[in-house]
Symmetry: C2
Subunit: 346 residues, 2 copies
């Protein structure tokens, strides 16, 4: 929390009682340093958490960056990234990419990235180990913004971009209710994420608003995947052959629901309506096209960059949180409920 200043090679040299050049030799694994001196320098490096400044190295001729040009990413995180890249180009910033391999990477790896002096702020889209990353940012005095897709429900003072999860599902439900649906299944996301809980709350809000009793057997827990949507929908259909609509907590889940419905010999949008959440590019391309709650992903990415740069410029932002409104996009996967339930229950 205190050591906000990056240690330089000179700091290490002073602490170890040698010249900067000797430290450089150790860092670059050159010869010409005695074993004991090397040890002393390594201790100093560890103590000060010294990481060589890539900018200085680069200026000196040593090289360490590759550019990556890409036309489009098609998925959720990619859409946000796209928005970020546009905004960054516009504001004359570069984006240095770090893709996590899996949760639980050594903190050292993150630390080298955060503490390298290469970047002055950090954007995070649904990262693994987010608490650790946030902590490292705070330790090293690096500003950051969390794009809170999966709604980790961070502390109030954590800068966040999010969407109206609850309201989004509420809108979707209202639309289904207006169409005449009464028996509506809901597939949650991973319930350890705040956004999953918020979306479920939106479903419950709508039921309450319409005076429909909450039936727990209409709610199943998915996992944000297509296969999860498929499996949970099968459960729902077995429990409730007479349900007429299903809301998935994201588009992939909804795709899986569509798969299950078709597989059961019913027609999506006629026998059973399906609504997703996100509006990834593919949502418009499936058959029938998916009705879904759109997140303005491009705008969210851009907003994240703008918020972060505002913080860096010490222009105090209006608020640390920016919540975007969702929008219901109506396509072919929804319609009026069939006059008679597809498979009347006894």
């Amino acid at each position: 929390m205190s050591e906000k200043v990056r240690a330089t090679i000179t700091d290490v040299a002073r602490l170890a009682g040698v010249s900067a050049k000797s430290v450089s030799r150790v860092v670059n694994e050159e010869v010409g340093v005695s074993a004991e001196t090397r040890l002393r320098i390594q201790a100093a490096i560890a103590e000060l958490k010294y990481v060589a400044n890539p900018a200085a190295r680069r200026l000196r001729g040593a090289s360490n960056a590759l550019g990556l040009v890409i036309s489009e990413f098609e998925d959720y995180a990619g859409q946000i990234t796209h928005g970020m890249s546009q905004a960054a180009q516009h504001l004359d910033y570069n984006l240095v990419l770090y893709v996590q391999n899996m949760p639980g990477q050594p903190a050292k790896s993150y630390e080298a990235f955060i503490n390298s002096g290469l970047i002055n702020g950090l954007l995070m889209i649904v990262p693994y180990d987010y608490e650790l990353l946030v902590r490292l940012c705070e330790t090293h005095g690096i500003a950051y913004v969390l794009v809170d897709y999966e709604g980790h429900a961070p502390a109030a003072n954590v800068p966040t971009i999010s969407v109206t999860n609850r309201k989004g599902v509420l809108d979707a439900m209202r639309y289904l209710l207006v169409l005449g649906h009464r028996k509506i299944g809901f597939i949650t996301g991973q319930m350890d994420k705040a956004s999953a809980r918020e979306r479920l709350a939106g479903y419950e809000d709508a039921l309450a608003e319409a005076g429909i009793a909450r039936d727990p057997s209409l709610i199943v827990e998915g996992n944000w995947t297509q296969i999860g949507g498929l499996e949970t929908t099968r459960v729902l259909l077995e429990r409730h052959p007479d349900l007429t609509a299903i809301i998935g907590s994201d588009d992939l889940t909804a795709f899986g629901a569509m798969d299950a419905i078709k597989d059961a010999g019913m027609r999506v949008g006629e026998d059973i309506s399906v609504i997703g959440f996100d509006d990834i590019p593919q949502a418009a391309g499936v058959y029938p096209p998916l009705t879904t709650v759109r997140q303005p992903m491009n705008a969210m990415g851009a907003a994240a960059v703008e918020l972060l740069i505002a913080m860096l410029d010490e222009r105090p932002p209006v608020s640390l949180h920016r919540e975007f409104a969702t929008e219901l996009v109506i396509r072919g996967s929804t319609g009026k409920p069939p006059p008679h339930p597809p498979t009347p229950s006894p």
Copy 2:
């Protein structure tokens, strides 16, 4: 082709007959420069294609980079990016991201990126305007590698990572033929891409090998999208109610084919088999799971980084091209053809 050395602020200053500081003032839009001097400096900047060196700026305290941490991208380009990021972390390189908004962006924008001195090599995944980008790289003496997903059929001296497109489809066809399929539809990609043409050639190879006459009405032109797969499959099914298998030139196309087949009241993998190409993460999650030709995308990304760094280190690589083998992944979307064609033709 000649101006391989980046101009510095001092070069500009010399050409304009002023001090470096004055150039700095113009570049940073500070006051204190007369209109005529400003014009002279701007001319010099344009002539030398001067772009301020971000490393020097950063060292000086001026800031211009944001980090982006992300857990996963789920689509094709994202998978490759993931492989690149891993390899780059391992080799102690950073990845600076540039996402194109659309084809035909001002060359100036690319040039600023390539000529900034920020990066020493460039990776490109299916970029728009690839000829322009390659030309800019050559002009500025920046090494590059093209990850040639859509197979732009570049000149022989262009460093490329690719896959065995032709062999991949050939393998898929052989598998279908062994299962007993004889009437197999093929949906191409965008035919201005070499990879689309190569994949089609693989289809034709297999027909020739099996002694089946090539029927042009079984070949339709898609566009690498799910909706394209849907529409072209409808055409195929209308023309050939008795076909028993369809190969799509990528997974999204195959998803669309599955949609069309289901919509026509038939069962994927039973009435009609479907094979895709790529093996994006979603392929295993659709229903039925998609049989597809896998591209080792992670390995391709890593190989691209390694090839590029080898070039930068002037370790002459074994070859400028690296072609990866595809692998047929058999899942539920394929099976034996039905004993009788689903809808016998008259």
